[in-house]
């Protein structure tokens, strides 16, 4: 058994025992007041979950008993049976049998036989009288006692909120540790330095342990998609084969939570817009069944989740035309954009190229939910598409939300942090290396003209006034340019200095300042100094809205 299988089994055991105990509690409530609707609903739900979990783990015998009991609870809920008479002892026997079976799984022993029980449950379902064992109370006692054995799980359930708190505390500890290490070096006391280094190692271990506790396999999300794809494909009259891979890739639970809707949207979009109808595919000389690939892999510190289809690909010209129609850009500007820049419009609010509004994808929500989710995580989106061959969307996600790589820059004597996920390149340029066109300062980066704006102007532009037109004569001496990248748009920011690259723990801005979207939060530097974290998506949007 692999470590992963072992972990899954422990999780199954913990949940199954929890369900079993809760069901015992609700059954007693139901016995006291047979009309207790909440208790009955809860029993039905728990039994259903136990059935699904057991079947997913291959414990079909448990699944079978749970399925039969669920049927009876369903009948009681529909008022076709009453929780009374001979039904009651059969149900209790059924629950005891489930407990015994779950324990047998935990002890790695063969599961006890449940044929008689299943026969009785079938009889109840058909409305017949069950055959109860002869009233041999004395014989039944030992078995019953065994069934009442107290169980404490080997696993502890923890609310994610508590883990969040732990992670924040560790983040602060790491900041103080860095500070102590700096001070120890300055003071130069050998024993202090040794202790500081030891503290460094321990807190490093602690940080990774806490981050590790929060990791879950991407599979917990990916495994929900076969059903989604099936439903969408049926509704749209498509034939789709879904392939999953990389379910074991580990990612922070909260990161996964935040991208759930985005992924759902991309998958639905892939089936309803990406893949063509079977007849259309056949006409294009492709197999009738479309391929949808949902895969996860790790790349350095990031997790990549990719949704790839072998459908029609993005029609760049249609997107370009729609972007102009929707007023997202002007016709002149649109004509100059390369395909990556055009595809970026797909993720603008309210953009949809679907001519027909379908039940599944055209619900007035665009792919902008994807962008929003990624922005909140500091993630990135990559798009690849070839006409007639297919489209692949890749979500680039941080493994953990707590610690981010950042570049520290200085402006007016204060540090600002820019998440590395959004930084492209840094340049030192002489004034004559810039050009000015249409009121914009331009730098030439790898053969591309990138607009450049002083960060100071972006941060201090007031109200709705436009940015002052670019004036090259104001540039004195070498200029430090940080090129950031958002939604495939590059923007150069003039800063005073580049300080260094470092890992930061981002704290959200509290009220009432959380309404200022230019800042993704704050971080505390090793010196205890407060450092604002720039939000590149918001800066880019501000630039686009205010440029002269």
């Amino acid at each position: 058994m692999t470590a992963r299988e072992q972990e899954y089994r422990e999780m199954f055991m913990a949940e199954a025992l929890e369900y079993y105990e809760a069901m015992g509690r609700h059954l007693s409530e139901l016995e006291r007041s047979p009309a207790d609707v909440p208790a009955l609903n809860e029993l039905f739900r728990l039994m259903h979950n136990l059935k699904s979990n057991a079947r997913a783990m291959g414990h079909t015998a448990i699944g079978e008993v749970a399925h039969h009991l669920e049927t009876i609870f369903g009948l009681i809920r529909d008022k076709e049976r009453e929780f009374a008479g001979s039904l009651v002892p059969v149900i209790f026997t059924g629950l005891d049998a489930l407990g015994a079976m779950i324990r047998a799984v935990g002890a790695d022993q063969p599961l006890p036989d449940a044929t008689d029980l299943l026969t009785n449950l079938d009889r109840l379902a058909r409305g017949e009288e069950p055959v109860l064992p002869a009233p041999a109370e004395a014989d039944g006692a030992p078995a019953e006692e065994d069934g009442r054995k107290m169980e404490l799980s080997d696993l502890v359930y923890i609310q994610v909120r508590k883990l969040d708190k732990l992670l924040n505390l560790v983040g602060e500890l790491v900041i103080d540790r860095d500070r102590i290490l700096t001070l120890a070096e300055e003071i130069g006391h050998p024993a202090l330095q040794a202790t500081a280094r030891h503290l460094f190692r321990i807190s490093d271990d602690l940080q990774y342990s806490v981050m590790d506790v929060r990791l879950v396999g991407v599979g917990v999300l990916l495994n929900k998609f076969p059903r989604v794809v099936r439903d969408v494909a049926t509704a749209e009259g498509k034939e789709v084969e879904l392939t999953l891979s990389g379910q074991d890739v580990q990612i922070d639970r909260n990161v996964l939570q935040i991208i759930t809707d985005a992924l759902l949207h991309l998958v639905r979009n892939g089936v309803s817009h990406g893949l063509e109808a079977p007849a259309q595919r056949a006409a294009a000389g492709k197999p009738r069944v479309g391929q949808l690939r949902l895969s996860a892999l790790t790349e350095r510190d990031d997790v990549l989740i990719q949704i790839a289809d072998d459908g029609a690909g993005i029609d760049t010209e249609v997107v370009r035309r729609k972007a102009v129609e929707r007023g997202l850009t002007t016709a002149e500007l649109a004509a100059t954009l390369d395909e990556q820049a055009v595809w970026a419009f797909l993720f603008e609010p309210g953009f949809s190229t679907a001519a027909q509004v379908t039940d599944i994808s055209g619900r007035g929500v665009g792919l902008d939910v994807v962008k929003r989710a990624l922005d909140s995580l500091g993630g990135q989106l990559r798009i690849e598409s070839v006409r007639g061959q297919g489209t692949a969307f890749t979500l680039v996600l941080p493994t953990s939300i707590a610690v981010k790589g950042a570049l520290l820059v200085e402006l007016d004597g204060r540090p600002y942090a820019v998440p590395l996920l959004h930084t492209d390149t840094v340049l030192a340029l002489r004034p004559e290396e810039f050009s000015v066109a249409g009121g914009l300062l331009l730098a030439h980066v790898q053969g591309q003209a990138v607009p450049v704006v002083p960060l100071r102007e972006l941060l201090h532009v007031e109200g709705a006034e436009p940015l002052p037109p670019a004036d090259k004569s104001r540039l004195q001496g070498p200029q430090q340019v940080l090129v950031v990248n958002y939604n495939n748009r590059r923007l150069g920011l003039l800063v005073d200095h580049f300080l260094r690259q470092q890992s930061i723990v981002v704290k959200p801005l509290g009220k009432p300042l959380d309404t200022i979207d230019l800042f993704g939060g704050v971080t505390l530097l090793g010196s205890g100094q407060v450092c604002l974290v720039l939000d590149v998506p918001a800066l880019t949007r501000l630039f686009v809205a205010r440029r002269a």
Binding site: R414, V522, L524, G528, Q529, V530, L532
Partner: protein, 171 residues
């Protein structure tokens, strides 16, 4: 000095007085005494290093790291329009950290704030015409009259600290 006639916190006079008392943190704005009920105050401290926050009104002096919490620092003299906006904080100032329902905010003051206990009856409701008029009067709880004839303007921070109120520009 008004101080000399005030009963000190926890002092004998306060213990002897059977009537209900309230405890205030008293500070100066533009030369006048203001008070906040101590239940609304988390702590009083020398102002830590302030990081200026772009895109905020001038009366928001910036953000500070207060024991690991990042809180905004505001200048009430500017917020109330008692002083022209945009002055830098002096080298040494004090921060009264005030608790709102779900966040904490710092009030920067120039003189050391002091605690004061006084009978609840000493706080009179502010006259209605006052409550309708200017900036700070919107947030008045009442006026405390001291035995020496001086007055303390008692602010109700709960009225001031709704996020929309706190960011409101003077007038």
């Amino acid at each position: 000095m008004a101080d000399s006639v005030l009963r000190p916190v926890g002092g004998k006079a306060a213990l002897a007085a059977p009537e209900a008392t309230v405890q205030l943190i008293v500070f100066q704005l533009a030369g006048e005494d203001y008070g906040i009920r101590i239940e609304q105050v988390r702590e009083v401290t020398a102002t830590p290093e302030v990081a200026r926050m772009p895109k905020t009104p001038a009366f928001i002096k910036g953000i500070v790291n207060l024991r690991g919490d990042i809180i905004a620092i505001i200048d009430l003299e500017e917020r109330f329009g008692l002083m022209p906006a945009g002055r830098p904080l002096p080298e040494r100032s004090y921060t009264i950290a005030v608790e709102a329902a779900d966040y904490t905010i710092g009030l920067a003051v120039r003189e050391v704030p002091r605690p004061l206990r006084l009978p609840a009856a000493a706080i009179e409701a502010a006259p209605e015409f006052l409550q309708d008029s200017g900036q700070r009067e919107r947030y008045l709880e009442g006026i405390a009259k001291l035995p020496d004839g001086s007055v303390i303007i008692v602010l109700d921070m709960r009225k001031l600290l709704t996020p929309t109120e706190i960011l409101r520009l003077p007038n």
